[in-house]
């Protein structure tokens, strides 16, 4: 199934770079900042600056841009769709007329803005997940959320669920492929028929997958308890997070660029 291979989110690529060594909390915070500011900015210069900043980050991370761009491929359709919707539905000065549809100057501008925003959104999150190991990422999220424990946000539980999900995604994918092959060997047909038929044909994959996933969950919980797991209380961390001078510099530079691009 080629479909599975093209999802980059959660695909960490190890390189020895400044970006990889940054504290995950800093990177998560920066990505949140970028995403919010991308939706606030309304000028091409601003977008250009942020684009420059993002590509510099990718360059510094030593990860080949093709990995970053790969994450965009599955979403091209959505981007194109929003682009077109905005072209045709925004009222304003009509510059082109097809049948009953009007393309407006404002529409083009707004559509392109949205497309760029989505593009940056994916770019920055892929940058985060490509350069931060899943463990560092969950650790970072746990620490960021931990101050929300006061309002009863289960930070540790969320992080543990993410860890387990990340751990089992490859295992379950492998299993899915196995089930697909097993069903095909029994004469199952996943390629022909109309949409409804095809969805129905996926039931023989989904059901065994669910059964086995529940079975796994059961065994995993036994294994976890056997290893003294009893929730987040009194737990120490194997990986320590440290905010260094580089982290501060990175934060300051990011803030400056974001402010500049907003002006």
């Amino acid at each position: 199934m080629m479909f599975f291979r093209s999802i980059t989110i959660g695909q960490y690529i190890y390189r020895n770079s400044i970006i990889h060594r940054l504290d995950p909390r800093v990177k998560i915070f920066v990505v949140i900042l970028i995403i919010t500011s991308v939706f606030l900015i309304n000028s091409w210069i601003g977008f250009f600056l942020i684009g420059l900043y993002l590509f510099t980050n990718i360059y510094l991370s030593k990860v080949h841009p093709k990995y970053v761009l790969k994450g965009i491929r599955p979403l091209i359709f959505i981007i194109a769709f929003t682009l077109l919707i905005h072209f045709f539905t925004t009222p304003g000065e009509v510059i082109y007329h097809i049948w009953i549809l009007n393309i407006t100057r404002e529409g083009i501008q707004r559509g392109l803005f949205i497309a760029v925003r989505l593009f940056y959104l994916i770019l920055s999150t892929s940058w985060l997940t490509l350069t931060t190991s899943p463990i560092a990422l969950t650790d970072g999220i746990e620490r960021i959320l931990s101050f929300l424990k006061i309002i009863r946000i289960p930070a540790h539980e969320i992080a543990m669920m993410m860890t387990i999900a990340l751990r089992f995604i490859p295992t379950l994918m492998e299993e899915t492929e196995k089930i697909i092959k097993a069903q095909m060997a029994r004469g199952a047909d996943f390629e022909s028929g109309n949409i409804v038929k095809r969805i129905q044909n996926f039931l023989p994959i989904i059901i065994p997958l669910f059964v086995s996933a529940f079975h796994r969950a059961d065994e995993l919980s036994i294994a976890m308890e056997a290893r003294c797991y009893r929730g987040g209380e009194g737990r120490t961390h194997y990986r320590q997070l440290l905010i260094t001078k580089v982290d501060y510099i990175f934060m300051i530079v990011t803030l400056l660029i974001l402010i500049l691009s907003y002006l």
């Binding site: 190991s133 751990r167 036994i222 294994a223 056997a226 961390h237 194997y238």
Partner: protein
């Protein structure tokens, strides 16, 4: 010392079809022992294993681990620290996304300090021969390697007892051999008590003591030699004697002077050499 004191366990209590999975188990395992538990499917081996770390509690009777009763809620975490468990399916026991993090998982749970944790992880990686795989992701490992990670995770906790519930049944012959070798070294060099549940008789033959289970009872206890000399009884329980013992019996039946309790290939070779 692990002590089973007249332990009985039921499944489906309160329902019409109550199933007795353990009945009147009395058993003692000393520190440093190297024992195997064998029995046909459904004989209660796994149920017994889950009693050792308090995962299942006896319906009647008591299980003691170093004097702690598993029924005692206060001491359950103490017991789980002492008793490491390795289960059948290696895929469903690894929690973290890299080998070293997984080994550290138990240590994190019991609140070990960072420095000490690093030291223990290094130590466990060394013993389980996993140094090169330190940062690997679990799904890229072979079954045998995964089981070694699970063993290392238990070792890092400084367990006294290691309970392995059919750890090799999903492995290839090479992985199987490797796991047994590691377990032997652990017992001989580190003095860790091994309780090994298996369906492979050739594996059981390598232990110092064997418990044979049938229908929730321990029906036979003894050294491999004494256990496997009772081939007919084992056959009745749905078990087989090791291939080499079968061969010895066949040869003896056909008039060769060979004792029928041979359990290793070396012994067989020695006896056969007498005929050359």
């Amino acid at each position: 010392m692990i002590k089973f004191n007249n332990v009985t366990h039921f499944y489906n209590t309160g329902q019409n079809h109550k199933i007795t999975s353990l009945s009147g188990i009395n058993m003692e395992i000393q520190e440093g022992d190297f024992v195997a538990i064998i029995g046909a499917n459904g004989s209660g081996k796994s149920t017994l294993a889950k009693h050792i770390n308090g995962f299942l509690l006896p319906g009647s009777g008591d299980v003691y681990v170093d004097g702690f009763n598993t029924k005692d809620i206060e001491s359950i975490w103490n017991i789980r620290k002492k008793v490491g468990m390795v289960f059948q399916n290696p895929d469903n026991q690894l929690i973290a996304t890299t080998v070293e993090d997984d080994i550290a998982f138990g240590l994190e749970n019991i609140g070990i300090e960072e420095e000490e944790m690093k030291r223990r992880v290094d130590w466990a990686l060394n013993i389980a021969e996993l140094n090169v795989l330190r940062t690997s992701e679990p799904h890229l490992l072979s079954g045998g390697q995964k089981q070694r990670v699970v063993i290392a995770g238990a070792l890092a906790m400084h367990t006294t007892y290691l309970v392995l519930d059919e750890p090799t049944s999903m492995l290839d012959p090479k992985g199987r051999k490797n796991i047994l070798e590691i377990i032997k070294t652990l017992n001989e060099e580190k003095g860790i008590t091994i309780i090994y549940i298996t369906q492979f008789m050739s594996e059981a033959a390598q232990f110092k003591k064997i418990f044979v289970m049938d229908k929730g009872k321990i029906v036979l206890t003894g050294s491999p030699k004494s256990v496997f000399s009772q081939a007919d009884l084992l056959m009745n329980l749905g078990l087989e004697v090791p291939q080499i013992t079968q061969l010895a019996r066949k040869l003896a039946e056909n008039g060769l002077e060979i004792p029928s309790n041979i359990i290793t290939e070396e012994e067989m070779v020695e006896y056969l050499c007498l005929y050359i």
